[in-house]
Symmetry: C2
Subunit: 362 residues, 2 copies
């Protein structure tokens, strides 16, 4: 790929443009708001001048609702050899393009699984896609040459290509992204009217479950509006489990021992299925979830405490895989949980104790 045209210079379009431009591709930038295109150009994403002839790849990075029309226009004008969009849903745009009767040999759908809280060209970075899955959804008509252009784009952005059917993609993101978002919001919504004394009892569990409930509603309404069917399907499955669990809990209130036993078994069932599902969530490096061992260390809340711990761990030659810091309520002391490969935990614990750290066994 030597030339590209990015249409839509928001976070994703500009980030891809910066990555491509940084790796020697001549990138042209276009936006319905010319000021955004020049901002992107000023950030090193390419030039906001129009290309003189067809480019190798046209990258359409506009909101889902505008994807089909923008692609149709670009194809009609013959702007490129290949055309790709980056919208977070893939079935709808594909069907809209088919309905327009376009020749789709030069088109491939795609969805880079990257994002951040901020949007717009100023939030863009060349490394936005590094190591993240970038889903490619070729149609039955997509030319191999166009698939290869897309794979080259993904490689230049240092993402990991995953080829999927467009509708399978939409069902997958409904399952692993859109449903967790809505359910997190619903658990958090229960706290809106809660007593202050109840809220004081929040621990790490609810903190984790509701973290993404802080997301921007406007952005999520846009995402969910483009994928309502698959999300409703997954949520209906959750709703069935929820109704079943409420019934099981009501049975647990019964005076009848058989009913209580049924209730307990219903509750156990959903918890066990949760175990099974959770065990499938991939850990780091795309591998299966690694079981780390936790070495817990008490610290004071002074600058440099964490530095000392990590320095001491480094001296022991142990690689910290993950960290969780849990500060105690109402006081300055805190607990640092260091997750390490199980084989290295005893050495780390010993090394830290030797250097005067107070461990909390877990």
């Amino acid at each position: 790929m030597r030339t590209a045209l990015v249409i839509g210079t928001g976070l994703i379009g500009t980030s891809a443009a910066i990555a491509l431009a940084g790796r020697g591709v001549t990138v042209h930038l276009r936006d319905h708001d010319p000021a955004r295109a020049s901002t992107a150009a000023a950030l090193g994403a390419g030039t906001d001048e129009a290309p003189e002839g067809p480019v190798d790849l046209v990258i359409v990075a506009v909101p889902p609702a505008h994807v089909a029309a923008t692609l149709a226009e670009a194809m009609g004008a013959g702007l490129g050899r290949g055309y790709l969009d980056v919208a977070s849903v893939k079935g709808g745009p594909k069907r809209e393009l088919e309905a327009l009767g376009l020749d789709l040999t030069a088109y491939i759908g795609s969805h880079p699984m990257s994002g951040k809280e901020r949007s717009g060209p100023l939030a863009a970075t060349a490394d936005l896609f590094e190591g993240r899955p970038w889903v490619l959804t070729p149609t039955r008509d997509t030319d191999t040459e166009v698939l290869n252009l897309a794979l080259e784009l993904v490689a230049l952005c240092r993402a990991v290509p995953v080829v999927m059917d467009a509708d399978a993609h939409d069902r997958a993101v409904a399952l692993v992204s859109h449903t967790p978002q809505l359910v997190s919001s619903m658990v958090a919504a229960r706290l809106e009217e809660a007593d202050e004394s109840a809220v004081r009892l929040c621990g790490q569990g609810i903190r984790d479950v509701t973290r993404i409930a802080a997301s921007d509603p406007r952005m999520w309404v846009e995402i969910l509006s483009a994928n309502p069917g698959p999300v409703a399907d997954v949520l209906s499955g959750v709703a069935a489990d929820l109704d079943e669990t409420v019934r099981a809990l009501r049975s647990l209130q019964s005076a009848d021992e058989d009913k209580r036993r049924d209730g307990a078994s219903g509750v156990a069932d959903v918890l066990r299925r949760g175990n099974a599902g959770r065990s499938r969530v991939p850990g780091k490096h795309g591998a299966g979830p690694t079981v780390y061992e936790t070495v817990a260390v008490l610290i004071s809340d002074q600058p440099g405490e964490l530095a000392r711990i990590f320095a001491d761990a480094g001296r022991a030659g142990v690689n910290i895989e993950d960290v969780r810091i849990e500060h105690a309520t109402g006081q300055q002391a805190g607990l640092v949980q260091l997750m390490v490969e199980p084989s290295t935990a005893p050495a780390l614990g010993a090394a830290l104790q030797e250097r005067g750290w107070a461990l909390r066994t877990s």
Copy 2:
């Protein structure tokens, strides 16, 4: 408090005993399994010999289902001046005691909000309760002297006392602990039968939402069996929101523009209420959630990399409030997100860049 009797030497009972014994209280230990009591004694939790006369405080740390009977027996035998239990639900045991027609002036309910994955005396530590809320649920009859004994226990365990009504406590833990557990399990359960390609797309959001779905079902069936009513009530609220959201998503699939607008507003509503609820979740130190700024740094996955970052941050005099490590899929490089007070973020970024770290702006 000079003497105490701990009945039930599991994780909680033994941890409290170790804390009390370490601070000069003479602690007697009792368990239906004498071997567990001697294990606890060997760990420095006190003596497994019976006290010669009434102790100052009898701490009943047996499973919820056995609390009332154990308390009744201890009271009948006149084992102490005051009696306290530590069960994770408070309304049921209280009502059972009332039904037994006991004099409850010497009784106070309590629930230390601490725990860990492992159970039993060997998992016990003196610092299990440090900085954590310890709920006290006096009855209308509880003597002030007994409340003060309980407050002394909480202080000796370095926990933070929170006085609540027993039923309010049960509703609160249903809201902030039991419901999030079940909902996390239900989201994870959806993954049990999912395609491998879908599971590959899991990101940090679903990872956080489903973390506690890995919890032990047996322990949770016990907890939920003791608090089914309040949990069913909160879950019913979630179920109503869920049904409403499924309806809103189905409206978004409609050809009718008015219906689609209603659907979008329904989805926006639950997301906004989620924002409001999430904003009430307390952050560290029991304060309102502090908004930290994130400084993101790219690292290689070598031992010592984190140590170097934290050392460099420490040299800049900046206190890292929280850390998130996000490893890239399929490669060794990773991203470390350092959460700091907003005022210190620029200095930290500059200091790290000066020392050669690659920042990723966010």
